[in-house]
Symmetry: C2
């Protein structure tokens, strides 16, 4: 699948406008804190949600609203998660009503999301005050404002747009995202909003998203904490004019390939912007008994605090990778493992047949000084492969998360 | 069970001597690095080992040596784990032979353990040089030297001894331990060596240890990493003169109660001395559907980096506890959770029925300023209970583990 990058983010696909405004959830800043993405037409809609049993109120409301497979827009506030607070469901529903009034649509037409502190009541006033001007501010240039409005501890704005063809018809897909720890009380839930003008049946859109999330977003870890509010939602306007994708086949596969490109890009961006991170870690496991096990091993290695701390220290401490492989759940052989460390500065094999492989510590230090580190693990026992992304564990992670909330 | 604390550690029970010497595994220090515990008589022996699939060579050798349920002594070096290095099994066997020569016992009479860097060949020379003087140094006052010799990043020496009666006969149990991260490449495996003069059949000793470990050592977490070299071993000399425990019953239960007291004391000591830790966290879960689930929830909460960082910052961020409860594996209700924070400075309820419970932030800050924090979680849904221990996540954890090995 050939894709071309272009500007515009979620507004790049036909039919979408966006806006982001400061409406007052945050008191001491002018940073935008309420985002809206709206489609000119009704969209096929799909979403996946956190697996945490404690879930934010907006997730249940969104689940109900898109149960019919359709939506028109996405509303998201930052600074308060609307989670573990009394009256949260009612409040999320009231937000949808305010939005319906301001857009002459139905309350059930909207995906709603929140990110921020858990356990505090989300006030309705900023929504009452902010939604009418937010709707007025909607524009085809509004993606960056919307992306800014959903940021919390993120240090980098995350937006992407790709162009591609489907059955000879030019199509587009765009996305904005936020997330830098996996969880939030200091505001770090992962939220991803994707738009496309591809015509695709809701059930297939849901399947494509559900499958892709296993390979991308579920393979990121910053601190192993699963947020109560994670959500990935996609709206497909169908305005590109392609023949609607209603069954698996070449068009569906092509769509999935683009969706994968967007989701992997976002996954890497979120891992690289992990709270306090100085390095992106990409662990690629090959030669495993199965793909599932390969993904699990990769995620366990990039999730090990000890390995993450070693990467912060640019220490080629491959014993910690072996140790993490060894405590990955499951029964599998561990006697023929190779480990190679790789970056823009080169690569060096540090372990062969599960024991030390001679290497130059200087080479290793030079390679590990880079901002993006590949950890290539060959399990030597099969054809399974998988990738996971993470970041190093730094003083700043502790600082960000040890600081008092207020 | 009434117990009385006394000095002497592993040498307190009748029949045991110990020693610790610097024999040269570490180059730049005079810190003792080889420990020996020896019994005057053959002992019932039991051990439990790490569940990591990558295991240090000494573990396999120990497993073989005590397969007959008996041993005479325990040899342990620090600074090199003898793991993921060629020839490790042969080397561990050779150590047993050197020890057999020096003691006129059999190589199979010994438990061997190592802790330190993974992936580097453990040299035999320090053993050859060190074992004869180590045997000569054995004494009833040698426990502290042995305890010092197994320390790595530990900041506090860990030894305990208790006196109690069994069927009217005075008995003793002692232990030394080390461990401050869960794993080692910078030397932090958990090792616990327990001695007792109780007479007990090997099979029951193994059962008592195996059951107890689930409630104590397996409920500690410093960084979630499971070492390749963890081992808990116990030797029972039988010299107290009690009627040998050969079947479950009152004496067995009493023995298990003392074993539990020793193991819980060690678990707390290890968690409190977690790498970089400034606070001991004890999470007590009650009202859970089962004891197993209660233990799992408790361990997930004290294992959450976000919660650990909040405790470092003395931040009553109970949302992070709720979040960790929510992602604990298993299907259980999360709507009636209470959370109370407790320390020597008092206690404060911060969450009721899974939502915010009004409290004074000043009270909470005062309580969380203490060195030992209790996190009391009532799941409100059953009679299951369990406890886990951990520590806060600090700048120093990152420093210790991000620093270069050499």
């Amino acid at each position: 699948m050939t894709t071309k990058s272009l500007p515009g983010g979620v507004c790049a696909p036909q039919g979408f406008k966006a806006a982001g405004l400061h409406v007052g959830f945050r008191q001491n800043t002018e940073k935008p804190d309420l985002a809206l993405i709206l489609s000119d037409v009704n969209c096929a809609a799909a979403a996946v949600y956190t697996l945490n049993k404690v879930q934010g109120a907006p997730l249940g409301v969104t689940r109900q609203n898109i149960a019919d497979g359709h939506a028109r827009g996405i509303l998201c506030n930052s600074s308060n998660a609307n989670t573990c607070a009394p009256g949260g469901v009612q409040l999320a529903q009231n937000c949808c009503k305010l939005l319906a009034d301001a857009t002459a649509l139905a309350p059930e037409d909207f995906v709603v999301a929140s990110t921020g502190v858990i356990g505090q009541v989300l006030p309705i006033e900023p929504f009452e005050r902010g939604i009418p001007p937010l709707v007025s501010a909607l524009s085809a240039d509004g993606c960056r404002d919307a992306a800014a409005a959903i940021m919390t501890t993120d240090t980098v704005m995350k937006e992407i747009a790709l162009e591609f063809t489907l059955g000879g018809v030019p199509c587009r897909m765009g996305a904005i995202g936020k997330g830098s720890g996996m969880i939030n009380p200091n505001m770090a839930t992962m939220l991803i909003f994707i738009t496309t003008d591809v015509a695709i049946a809701p059930a297939l859109l849901q399947k494509a998203l559900g499958d892709e999330v296993q390979l991308s977003f579920n393979q990121i870890t910053v601190d192993g904490d699963t947020s109560t509010n994670d959500m990935v939602a996609v709206l497909a306007s169908g305005l590109s004019g392609n023949a609607e994708i209603t069954a698996p086949g070449a068009d569906y596969d092509a769509f999935c390939a683009v969706l994968s490109e967007v989701c992997v890009w976002m996954s890497r961006a979120i891992a690289a912007d992990g709270e306090g991170a100085t390095k992106l870690l990409e662990c690629v496991v090959t030669g495993a008994p199965s793909d599932t096990l390969a993904r699990l091993i990769a995620k366990t290695v990039v999730g090990s605090d000890l390995f993450k701390a070693a990467m912060f220290g640019a220490d080629a401490n491959w014993g910690r990778a072996l140790c993490a492989i060894g405590y990955t759940p499951g029964d599998f052989p561990v006697d023929h493992i190779s480990v190679t460390l790789k970056s823009a500065a080169g690569q060096v094999q540090v372990c062969k047949e599960s024991v030390h492989h001679p290497y130059s510590e200087d080479d290793a230090a030079r390679i590990l000084a880079e901002k993006e580190i590949g950890v290539l693990i060959d399990m030597g026992e099969g054809a399974g492969q998988g990738t996971a992304w993470g970041c190093d564990l730094t003083y700043d992670y502790v600082k960000i998360n040890g600081d008092y909330r207020s």
